[in-house]
C-alpha cells in the first residue's frame, strides 16, 4: 500500500514505497515475458489516459499496463484547445468524475495540472508529465532500469546531461535519485540549467568530459527546442561537440557504466546513433521497464483501495 492516493510528484513517495514499486514491478516483468501477458488483477477498474499533449510512448506504455492488468483503459485525448473552446481543466475533470473512473493518468503541457485534477476529482491521479515540472513514472522506470543493469541504486553517480531546465524527466529523476541514496549530477550549459540547481540537491557541472569518468550512468536528456524561448546554444553542432554522447565519450565512461535516454532521441544532437544502438545503451530496456513499473503503480494505487471493507 502507498500512503498517497496519487503519484503527482516524487514527494508523494517515500524511499520504502519506491522500493516496493520497483519490487512489485519485477513480478510484473515476469508476466511481460509470458506468452499470455495478461492478469485479471484490475478487472472492472477504469483507467483513463487523459492526454492534453501528444505523446506516443508514455500513453502507449500506460495503455499496455492497464490492459495487461485487465483494467478498462480509456484514452481521452483532449487537445489543450478544449481550453480555447472555453472548457476549463476543472470542467474536464468534473466531466470525467461524473463517469466515475478509478485512476486518471494525466499528461499536460502545464505544470500543476495533476494537482488541479486531484482537487476536482475523487480518484487516483498519476502524473504522466506536467509541463517542465515532473514525470514521476519515468523516474521510477529509470530507477528500475538502473537497478536491473547495475544491481543497486545506492551510491550510483548519475550524470543527467543536457536540457535540464526544460526537463520534467530531470524534475523527477533528481529527487528520485536522492531518495534512493544515489548521487545526481546535472551537466549542461548554464543556459539549460534551472534557476536554482542548489535547491534540487544535485551536483552541477558544465564540463561533461570532466565528469564522465566518475559516472555509473550517463543519462542524456532530449534537447527540447520547442520549449526554449530562444536558442540556448549557438548550433546543434557545437552542442554535440560539447555535450553530445558519442563513441569517444563512451570510452571515457567506466567500463560498467550504462547510457540512458528517456526518448524520443535527437540522434546526432545529444546522442550519436552508434551510442544509442550500442551494447552500453539500455534505452530499449527503459521502454520495457516502463510497462512493468506502470503496472506496479496501478496495482499499488488501485489494489486495496477499499481496505477496511473486509479483512
Amino acid at each position: 500500500m502507498l500512503t498517497s492516493r496519487h503519484i503527482m510528484t516524487m514527494d508523494d513517495l517515500s524511499p520504502e514505497e519506491i522500493a516496493l514499486i520497483l519490487d512489485t514491478a519485477e513480478s510484473f516483468s515476469e508476466v511481460n515475458q509470458r506468452r499470455i501477458k495478461k492478469l485479471p488483477t484490475l478487472r472492472g477498474r477504469t483507467v483513463v489516459n487523459l492526454f492534453f499533449e501528444p505523446s506516443t510512448r508514455t500513453r502507449t506504455s500506460f495503455e499496455i499496463a492497464a490492459k495487461r492488468l485487465s483494467a478498462d483503459g480509456i484514452n481521452f485525448s483532449a487537445s489543450a484547445s478544449a481550453t480555447a473552446k472555453g472548457e476549463t481543466l476543472r470542467d474536464t475533470a468534473k466531466t470525467l468524475a461524473a463517469m466515475s473512473c478509478d485512476l486518471v493518468v494525466v499528461r499536460h503541457k502545464y505544470a500543476g495540472a495533476p494537482q488541479m485534477l486531484a482537487e476536482a476529482m475523487d480518484c487516483s491521479i498519476v502524473n504522466g508529465g506536467d509541463g517542465v515540472h515532473e514525470h514521476p513514472t519515468q523516474a521510477l522506470l529509470d530507477l528500475y532500469t538502473m537497478r536491473q543493469a547495475l544491481g543497486r541504486l545506492e551510491g550510483l553517480r548519475v550524470g543527467i546531461v543536457g536540457d535540464v531546465c526544460h526537463s520534467r524527466v530531470a524534475g523527477s529523476l533528481v529527487p528520485a535519485l536522492r531518495k534512493v541514496g544515489a548521487v545526481p549530477i546535472i551537466v549542461g550549459p548554464p543556459t539549460l540549467m534551472p534557476a536554482r540547481p542548489d535547491i534540487l540537491g544535485a551536483e552541477v557541472a558544465y564540463d561533461l568530459d570532466e565528469v564522465l569518468p566518475t559516472l555509473d550512468v550517463a543519462y542524456l536528456l532530449r534537447v527540447q527546442f520547442e520549449r526554449a524561448a530562444r536558442m540556448p546554444f549557438p548550433s546543434n553542432r557545437e552542442y554535440a561537440t560539447l555535450y553530445g554522447m558519442n563513441l569517444a565519450r563512451l570510452e571515457k565512461l567506466p567500463a560498467h557504466a550504462i547510457v540512458m535516454h528517456p526518448g524520443p532521441m535527437n540522434r546526432g544532437v545529444e546522442i550519436s546513433a552508434d551510442v544509442a544502438d550500442s551494447a552500453r545503451s539500455v534505452i530499449l530496456g527503459q521502454v520495457e521497464s516502463g510497462v512493468a513499473v506502470r503496472m506496479a503503480v496501478m496495482y499499488l494505487l488501485l489494489g486495496g483501495a477499499d481496505s477496511g471493507a473486509a479483512a
Binding site: M1, S27, E30, I36, T41, L42, L302, G303, G304
Partner: protein
C-alpha cells in the same frame, strides 16, 4: 490480530509421514511421474512442493520439475487487500500438456486455488491440474476439492490453521490458533 495457540494437530513426524504418503499417492494416481510437474503456491506451498519432489525422486529415481506460483495478481479480493509482499512467479517448465500438481499448505475457502488455477492457465494449457494440501480445514466457498490430503482438520471459522516449517519457522508442526479476544 491477537491469536494464541489452541492445539497442535500434527507434529514433525506426522508431517513427514503425510508428505511421504502424498508422494506415493501422486505417483500412483499418475502412474509414475513422467508428465507430472509441481507448482507450489507462495509461500509455504513452495517449500512443501520441494519436499514432495525430493520424496518422489527418492521413490521413483527421477526428478520432477518444481515451480513456484505467486497468486497476488489473480486474487478476487485485490480491491479489498493487497498482498503485503509480491513474489515473482517462477514456472521453469512448459505447462502445455503436463499434469500440474498444485501444492499448498492449507485448503480453506478454495479461493487461493481458484486463483492458482487461473495463474497456471496463463502459462499454457495443462493436461490436468491436481491439488495436494497438507491440511484441509473445510469451509469451502467454491466447488474445489483436493486430490491429495495430508490430514482433514475440522475447524471453526474464527480459528486459524498454521503450518510451521523448519526452514521458515524453526519448528515443524501444524497448529490451530484461536482469537485470544485481545483484538488487533
Amino acid at each position: 490480530m491477537g491469536f494464541s495457540e489452541k492445539a497442535e494437530v500434527m507434529d514433525a513426524e506426522a508431517i513427514d509421514r503425510a508428505l511421504t504418503r502424498i508422494a506415493h499417492e501422486i505417483l500412483e494416481a499418475n502412474k509414475g511421474c513422467g508428465d507430472v510437474a509441481l507448482a507450489g503456491i507462495m509461500t509455504r506451498g513452495v517449500d512443501m512442493a520441494s519436499r514432495l519432489a525430493e520424496r518422489i525422486e527418492r521413490i521413483e529415481g527421477t526428478a520432477v520439475p518444481v515451480g513456484s506460483l505467486d497468486i497476488s495478481f489473480y486474487r478476487d479480493d485485490v480491491s479489498i487487500r493487497l498482498s503485503p509482499e509480491v513474489h515473482t512467479t517462477d514456472i521453469p517448465y512448459p505447462v502445455e500438456g503436463r499434469t500440474i500438481v498444485l501444492v499448498d499448505d492449507v485448503l480453506y475457502t478454495g479461493r487461493t486455488i481458484r486463483a492458482a488455477m487461473d495463474a497456471i492457465m496463463d502459462y499454457g494449457r495443462p493436461a490436468a491440474i491436481q491439488l495436494a494440501v497438507l491440511v484441509d480445514r473445510g469451509h469451502r466457498e467454491l466447488p474445489i476439492r483436493a486430490d491429495f490430503v495430508g490430514k482433514n482438520v475440522p475447524t471453526a471459522r474464527r480459528e486459524r490453521v498454521k503450518v510451521l516449517l523448519e526452514e521458515l519457522d524453526g519448528r515443524e508442526a501444524v497448529v490451530i490458533l484461536e482469537d485470544d479476544g485481545k483484538g488487533e
